[in-house]
């Protein structure tokens, strides 16, 4: 299927916070209560529509285990968006956010859009991290924040789509150089750079690097 843009995402966070389940819910619309540990890096894709444009999301679901960190790190590069996930029922996963954030910032491009996600919002009874805390952390570090439940699918769609919107907005604003694939953004096959320049100028972007 043809697309206007391809965005690369990466999902990071401690082991067991529900990264793979979020991806499964987003791509397959199902929930698997028993999920094996992710060994390495997995991959999922889905088409979404933003502003009437087809956008393909290519999502890298990483293993949260510390021992796989060196492998997963190599996937940070070339991601336009990151979902940084913690588990609202486990405070330690929240406490590790700073480390994850540093890691991500260090190994990815600086424009990467990071969304902070407090997962397992369906387990309200076992909550350890307040929503306000998540919000505060996000505010402090300039992240978008959302609480989701991969089990009930609450906010899952929104989390991925809002991130995409943010990236899309950054493209419109000219923050991303869309011709550099290292930014995690690819122009679709039918959108040649020539066409693209028309599109971008139409939306008032100050795209400089476009010449044919």
């Amino acid at each position: 299927m043809s697309y206007a843009y391809l965005f690369k995402y990466i999902i990071i966070g401690d082991t067991g916070v529900g990264k793979s389940c979020l991806l499964l819910q987003f791509t397959d619309k199902r929930f698997q209560p028993v999920h094996d540990l992710t060994i390495g890096v997995e991959f999922g894709a889905r088409m979404i529509t933003i502003d009437g444009k087809q956008i393909k999301l290519q999502i890298w679901d990483t293993a949260g285990q510390e021992s796989f960190r060196s492998i997963t790190r190599s996937y940070y590069r070339g991601a336009a968006g990151a979902l940084l996930v913690y588990d609202i029922t486990r405070r330690d996963t929240f406490n590790h956010l700073t480390t994850w954030l540093e890691d991500a910032r260090q190994h990815s491009n600086s424009n990467m859009v990071i969304m902070l996600i407090g997962n397992k919002s369906d387990l309200e009874a076992r909550r350890e991290v307040k929503k306000e805390e998540g919000e505060a952390f996000a505010r402090e570090h300039g992240l978008i924040f959302m609480e989701t439940s991969a089990k009930t699918a609450a906010n899952v769609e929104e989390a991925f789509i809002n991130t995409a919107k943010e990236i899309y907005q950054k493209i419109q604003d000219g923050v991303f150089d869309i011709n550099n694939e290292a930014n995690g953004i690819k122009i679709g096959p039918q959108h040649s750079p020539a066409n693209q320049s028309l599109n971008v100028s139409g939306s008032g972007g100050n795209q400089g690097g476009n010449c044919c």
């Binding site: 698997q32 209560p33 060994i39 890096v41």
Partner: protein, 904 residues
Amino acid sequence: MAFLQWRRFNFFDKETVKDPTTDQVFDLLKDVNVSACTSGRGQLVIGDFEGNLYFINRQMELTAFRAYEIRVTHLIQLKQHNLLISIGEDEQGINPLIKVWNLDKMEHGSPTCTRLTRAIPGNKPTPVSAFAVHDNLNFMAVGFENGVVLLFKGDVTRERHSKSRNVFEGTKRVTGLAFKTVGKDVILFVVTDSSLHTVNITAKDQQTKLDDTGAEPGCIVMTDASQDHQLVIGRPDAVYFYQPDGRGPCLAFEGVKLQLHWFRGYLIIVGKDNKGLPRAPVLGPRGMEMNTVTVYDIQNKFIAHSTAYPEVIDVMCESGSIFIFTGDRKLYQLQEKDTQSKLEMLFKKNNYSLAISLAKSQQLDQDGLIDIFTQYGDHLYGKGDHDGAIDQYIKTIGKLEASYVIRKFLDAQRIHNLTKYLQALHKSQIATEEHTTLLLNCYTKLKDVSKLDEFIMTKNREVDFDVETAINVCRQSGYCKHALALAEKHQKHEHYLKIQLEDIKDYQKALAYIGKLDFESAESNVKQYGKILMSQVPDEMTDLLKRLCTDYRPNDGGIGKIEKAQAEEFIHIFVNNAGKLTEFLEHMIEVQPASSNLVYNTLLELYLHDMVHEKVIVTRVERERKTLELLKNPDANYDIDQALILCQMNNFKAGILYLYEKAHLYQQILRYHMEHNEYVHVIESCKKFGQQDPQLWVQALSYFACKEENCKSQLMETLTHIDKKNLLPPLMVIQILAHNSTATLSVVKDYIVRRLQMENDQIAEDERLIKQYKEDTEKKRIKIEDLKTSAKVFQASKCNICSHALELPSVHFLCEPHSFHQHCFESYSENDMECPVCAPENRKIMDIIRAQEQSRDIHEFFHNQLERAPDGFSVVADYFGRGVFNKVTLITSQVGKGAAPNLR
């Protein structure tokens, strides 16, 4: 610390390959110094450092031939064609030679070599380090230690038309090459010791660098279609997958990898997995290093087999098994277990979700899957995970008997789960009536109105349940609105009305609903529920009935033909509501004058009833007028007898009289008046109806005669009338009057005198007539006698026909006498026996006689005449005169009015 490994199973049976003829361990290769292995088309191919090629077929028979003078270095057996392509050396020094062998064509016990090409990049010979052939036989790539990749384009089996070019020039040894076709493009993956590239050989050899790390030789494999033909590269930290456009996922299987192989969705990794073991390296027999062969199911994420082998030389995937060629020159065969035994192993470990995904990836049939779902469901149920269990059971819908599941959850009182299951059952359209009932009961038990709403109220949803059952269940459990909505949606009028009237008691709505129905339903429903509706909403109900009985048309604008119901069928509905009934019936007879008599009867009854119970005189008069009007209405089709009874019962004089009159019961009228002693009316009615029934006067007479009080004038008048019409013989009159003690002679004197006078006159007249008749008779007798005895002289001088002088021949008749010319007579007379002049007169008389004769047999006529005649005697006399009692008919006797013609 969690297990950083996939789950481990043993889905392969390992056995040492035996020589089938000797049943000994296969050891024919024990002295071979193996340099390269390949397989395909049912055979294993092994090359050695002496330049020999060995073939092992399915029966484990070994054949061999010498292919190179010095050694074989690389071998590729094509899968689609029976071609073997080898690289080896015939001469000392670095001089790699490509040979293509056609295995179908044997020549002196060895296959034909169809091509022989030197593989030298540029002019500097370098050892070959990697080798790949595209399956379409058009591309062959050779990688060298100096980092150059040489591509041969054109038919690989022939030297001719084949062109070669350098498509890649790196600095590091080329460790792996692989082709991939993407649409029209052919991509060549080039793996070196330190990098990974793609070369698009169909698009100007466009190069893309995919990664900064390379791989060791052997640690490169292409997946099959199940994994989208990705390139897999094994590195010590993980196994990475690559697409032509970049790196894909990775699997963190740690350890030094020696070889990677692909077998039907399995990734086989030969590794030195000795990390963490205390004594390294592990030495096998004869001091060989042990290697681990691990088979990974990439799709379902588990390890299907893992065993250690001494120094694995190569792994060949052939004939549905994996052959492992080890350093001790033994062949091990790994045979995949069948799906069923794999599943059983998974079941034993309660690993159902894996079983399901495995079954799916192995294309297990539906029944098998259902079986797994059932077992999984049972397992989860047993564990108490009802939510999970029901999810599995739902997947079995359509195959597994639903009652099995339902009973389980009913027993366990798990209504939530049961509801979910039943919902799914309905969605798949196989729910029965009982299921619907159960589901609705579940909803009502759970008080889950929203679900119930969804189930029932959702518009335009396909109905997947039995509507009547649903309505009944909803009603019983008090969800009347839902039942109502259902009934309305599915046109179950009966149910709708029942609910609306009996449960909700919204009569207006029920009425409005009836109004929307088509005629037949409306009619039957009105009959059924009319009484309730009438008692609750009389006005609207009456309106509806009016509509129904005149020109019914459904309210919602249907153009259906106009139909009418019979008004009388609805009368019973108006029990206890006479006012409305009156209104209704009035409307009916107004719109439809030809209504049945029941309608009129009822209306009349109502009128009379009203009238009688009306106290105010003015309105009562008005009522009477109305009633009478109805009675007098010429269209009014009431039953007179019944009307009469009604009037009598209600003592409605005007009505009674009118009805008597209408029924021609004048006597009754008279009697009525008599009973009420209304003399004037008696006389009046006698006058009025005396024409039709003269007997009235007689009755009046006897009535007045019996009266004690003075009613002389009436008596007189009556007598006058009786007299005028001659209704009673005087004797009778006297007799009647004699009963009366008050009647005096003076009353009757005039009458009697007059009567007697009249009788005298009559007698005198009669006597005169008798006398006259006697004289006539005598005259006739004399004439007859005369004719018989005396002669008759004909002296007529003129012919009675032509009035000319009579000439001979002439005819004379005795009658007048009449005389005719003969020719005149002949031309005029009809027969010669009669006188033409007298004949018409005679015939008239004859006809009368004949007519009398005929009519004397018509007795009814006679009796009729007799009855109607004022004087019966004269009728009898008349008949007597006609000869009623005459046996001898007049026709036969020629009463001699004429005589035989007298010819002269």
